[in-house]
């Protein structure tokens, strides 16, 4: 099948065009760096089906970030039949810079002038024909958003693909064009494809090129010694970049006739930025927005109106919907939806149990269905609305273009941790799912920054961890009668962020030491998020969550149910004997390990459930609560309650039965939040980091979660231990600072060095 590649600047509309051509729902965001891997789809309206590949956005083919390498390598190595170069017509000059480089490659090329509708709206006039004449490849006006011009684009691209095109450079007439010519001939002699492109890159002393063609690079060096340009000396980089833009401003910019307007008139984006990036209010506004997001999702006292309401007004006491909308305060939309779902699933569970009992089905079968199958899945399903809400809020923030502004505002702070504001994006993505967040770090040019960011992304609690935070906080509330459990939930998110900051600080001062990465980034114009797009993604996310629940989680809880109902001798055990099951045995075996965290040997009876739940979390973080759901059903039926409890009440009851204390519960949340993430995230981290670094990362996750969780427990139970911890941390920080200032050298602690030292000693 023919293959066409979509290449262009970030935010030029490639992915919108991709969606328009292939009918797919690849995600579109509004900050530089959303697509960081290639996506493929099929265009079916031509004579033959064409595979369309959406490449990550790049500003140039001189790779600065890993994502730019992906695009460059694709065009050079995969040899697409045609490259569709998308240009943001409202941003012509900078977009054409890339075009002049693609022109140098021997590949058919078509320019898509996107966002033509915005150009027309602003009153500017763009002459596509003129541009086509000057540049020498077809130029088609399109609006990917409105679906305009797409068919014409594909027709012309198809035509172009049938004739091979030789690369040509716009650098003719510059002082170094002869050098480029000589390099090209030399490369052609070596049978190198795309000789012209490689020749230009060599003259630019592009790092990848120099590595690949050392002899030609040598030739360039020799020439440099004999060369002297008036303005730039032997600075070939500058000569070429300058020549490209000179060409663009001379030949292409005239095709765009700007409407006469005051040059300083603020655009709509400028006006919005006046508020959002205001000198004083910028940061408070951001914090407020973040708080509002979480408030709408978790709060049990919306807008803090609780005190002002008349008694029992919202509680709907005595009705079936008791407590759903609030109790002492109005519940936020997220909590209302959770309550409704919890109610629905609980009722359904009870109904099924009732029906099965009436049908004379044996007790174990009822247990398998209600606890093993439904108990786990339903426990997790109720959290879907809140997960979707958070996802929706963050999507809106990203699609609008606000995220780039936040990176802009926070860069100064990030710099103190050794990161650039750019690292903010993947971290915020971590609140959705760690996997795409880790992949997104490919937009970071600095390798060490990238590694440090990947390592802390799991600390930004993903959607799957939300049930843990909320359910246990709720369990704490129900068991110990503590109000405002949403504060605990907020607090846990904050803990994650704080630990991430500290971890990065320590890493950047020790093993990931390096220069502060530069921060040069485009601020895209604000766009109103497309409603249709948003809804499509919400639906997609919901679908995948439910799918995950009824496959992975269901399978896990079934297995858990089985091994919690059989003894070591393979006898079936009813609920009351759950403590003698294989599962309980394994749990009790591992319990002592978690004593410093509060859920180890110190809790008798059912304490092993915590350890077991944490381990099942390795498969999928939702499993922690699913496991609780399943086991709670069995335990409460067998021991605790007179009537069968369902849903969150069952979990709370089970927690109470273990006699665990609040600090230990908090430690449990913290541990699960910070420890090794789910298999998928682990696999992604391994792929992004490489084996060696990855192994260190596993250790890092285990150690960090263990230490921080134990801190919460120990300080919570025995407040005076805080002094010990402060002392230890003060020592660590002092060592780190001294290391940074070069006064001492902590490299001796670096595992690599330790191993090397041992090796030399052995010799």
């Amino acid at each position: 099948m023919m293959k066409f590649a979509l290449a262009g600047n970030p935010n030029s509309g490639k992915t919108t065009l991709f969606n328009g051509l292939t009918g797919s729902t690849a995600h579109v965001g509004n900050w530089p760096g959303v697509t960081v891997d290639k996506k493929e789809g099929v265009y079916k309206k031509c004579a033959e089906p064409i595979s369309i590949v959406d490449l990550p956005g790049i500003y140039s083919l001189s790779p600065y970030t890993p994502e730019e390498v992906i695009s460059r390598n694709f065009i050079l190595d995969e040899k697409p039949d045609c490259v569709i170069n998308i240009i943001d017509a409202t941003n012509l000059e900078r977009n054409l810079y890339l075009s002049t480089q693609i022109l140098e490659i021997d590949v058919p090329m078509v320019i898509a002038l996107n966002m033509i509708d915005e150009v027309e709206k602003s009153g500017d006039v763009l002459d596509a024909k003129k541009l086509e004449e000057k540049i020498g490849v077809p130029v088609v006006e399109i609006s990917a958003l409105k679906g305009r011009g797409l068919d014409e684009l594909m027709t012309r691209a198809y035509e172009a693909s049938r004739t091979p095109r030789k690369g040509r450079t716009v650098l003719d007439g510059t002082s170094i064009v002869h050098l480029i010519g000589d390099c090209k001939i030399a490369l052609e002699g070596q049978k190198v494809d795309n000789a012209l492109f490689h020749a230009v890159k060599l003259v630019e002393l592009d790092e990848l090129e120099v590595k690949m063609h050392p002899d030609s690079a040598f030739m360039v060096e020799e020439f440099k010694k004999t060369f002297e340009d008036d303005t730039f000396g032997t600075d070939f980089d500058a000569i070429i970049a300058d020549a490209r833009y000179k060409y663009i401003t001379k030949n292409c910019s005239p095709a765009l006739v700007k409407k006469v307007r005051s040059a300083d008139a603020p655009s709509r984006s400028d006006k919005i930025d006046k508020v959002l990036t205001h000198k004083f209010w910028g940061i408070p506004i951001f914090l407020l927005i973040l708080f509002a997001l979480f408030h709408l999702t978790f709060s049990e006292n919306l807008l803090f109106l609780g005190a002002a309401l008349p008694e029992g007004w919202v509680a709907l006491e005595g009705t079936a919907l008791e407590g759903v909308f609030g109790d002492g305060g109005i519940n936020s939309p997220g909590v209302v939806l959770f309550n409704l779902l919890d109610l629905a699933t609980s009722s359904l569970g009870e109904a099924i149990a009732g029906a099965m009992e009436a049908g004379g089905v044996s007790e174990w079968a009822i247990g398998l269905v209600c606890d093993g199958m439904l108990g786990g899945v339903f426990a997790v399903l109720s959290f879907l609305p809140q997960i979707l809400l958070l996802f929706l809020f963050f999507s809106i923030l990203e699609d609008s273009g606000y995220m780039a502004r936040v990176a802009f505002i926070l860069d100064r702070i990030f710099r103190k941790f050794g990161l650039s504001g750019r690292a903010f994006m993947p971290m915020i993505m971590g609140f959705g799912c760690s996997v795409p967040a880790m992949v997104n770090t490919r937009t970071l040019a600095d390798e060490k920054e990238r590694i440090a960011t990947i390592r802390v992304i799991p600390f930004f609690s993903c959607g799957a961890k939300l049930p843990i935070l909320t359910a246990i906080a709720g369990g704490i509330g129900l068991t110990f009668g503590l109000p405002h459990t949403d504060l605990i939930t907020y607090g846990m998110y904050v803990v994650g962020i704080v630990v991430a900051i500290c971890a990065v600080l320590i890493m950047r001062s020790t093993t990931m030491k390096g220069e502060v990465p530069p921060f040069i980034m485009e601020l895209p114009t604000y766009h109103l998020p497309q409603f249709k797009n948003l809804m499509l993604h919400l639906w997609d996310k919901a679908k995948h969550f439910v799918q995950k629940a009824f496959t992975i989680i269901l399978a896990s809880t079934i297995v858990i149910w089985f091994i919690s109902h059989f003894s070591w001798g393979w006898n079936y055990l009813p609920d009351e004997q759950i403590n003698e099951s294989i599962l309980a045995g394994v749990g009790r075996l591992l319990q002592p390990l978690f004593t410093p965290l509060g859920f180890g040997s110190q809790i008798g009876s059912f304490g092993w459930v915590f350890v077991v739940a944490a381990i099942t979390g390795l498969i999928a973080k939702e499993n922690v609560i699913a496991t609780f759901g399943t086991l709670a059903g069995c335990i409460t039926a067998g021991f605790v309650a007179d009537e069968a409890l369902e849903g969150i009440d069952a979990v709370a009851s089970m927690i109470g039965a273990t006699e665990i204390g609040v600090p230990a519960l908090i430690a449990f949340i913290v541990f699960n939040m910070l420890t090794i993430p789910c298999f998928a995230a682990v696999a992604t981290a391994k792929a992004e980091l490489g084996k060696k670094r990855f192994n260190m990362t596993l250790v890092f996750w285990v150690v960090t979660s263990y230490v921080v969780a134990s801190m919460f427990y120990l300080i919570g139970e025995w407040w005076w231990t805080v002094f010990i911890f402060v002392a230890v941390w003060a020592m660590v920080i002092t060592l780190v600072i001294l290391n940074k200032q070069g006064k001492i050298n902590l490299d001796v602690l670096n595992p690599k060095n330790v191993i090397a030292k041992i090796k030399t000693l052995k010799k």
């Binding site: 959705g432 992949v439 995948h544 792929a687």
Partner: protein
């Protein structure tokens, strides 16, 4: 045992085996087993293919 109970056991085993097998198959294909899908993944594509690893 009642027929419904037999059905239950069979269904349980099927589910568990199916999930495990598909997980192994996914891993062999090199795809990450995230709850998200490829093109529907929020924010970015998470599919790994050997060629796109950083050079």
């Amino acid at each position: 045992m009642q027929p419904i109970e037999i059905v239950l056991i069979v269904a349980s085993v099927l589910v568990v085996v199916a999930v495990m097998v598909s997980a192994i198959v996914k891993k062999a294909k090199g795809k990450s087993g995230c709850g998200c899908g490829c093109s529907g993944c929020p924010h970015a594509s998470a599919c790994q293919s050997k060629k796109t690893k950083k050079a």
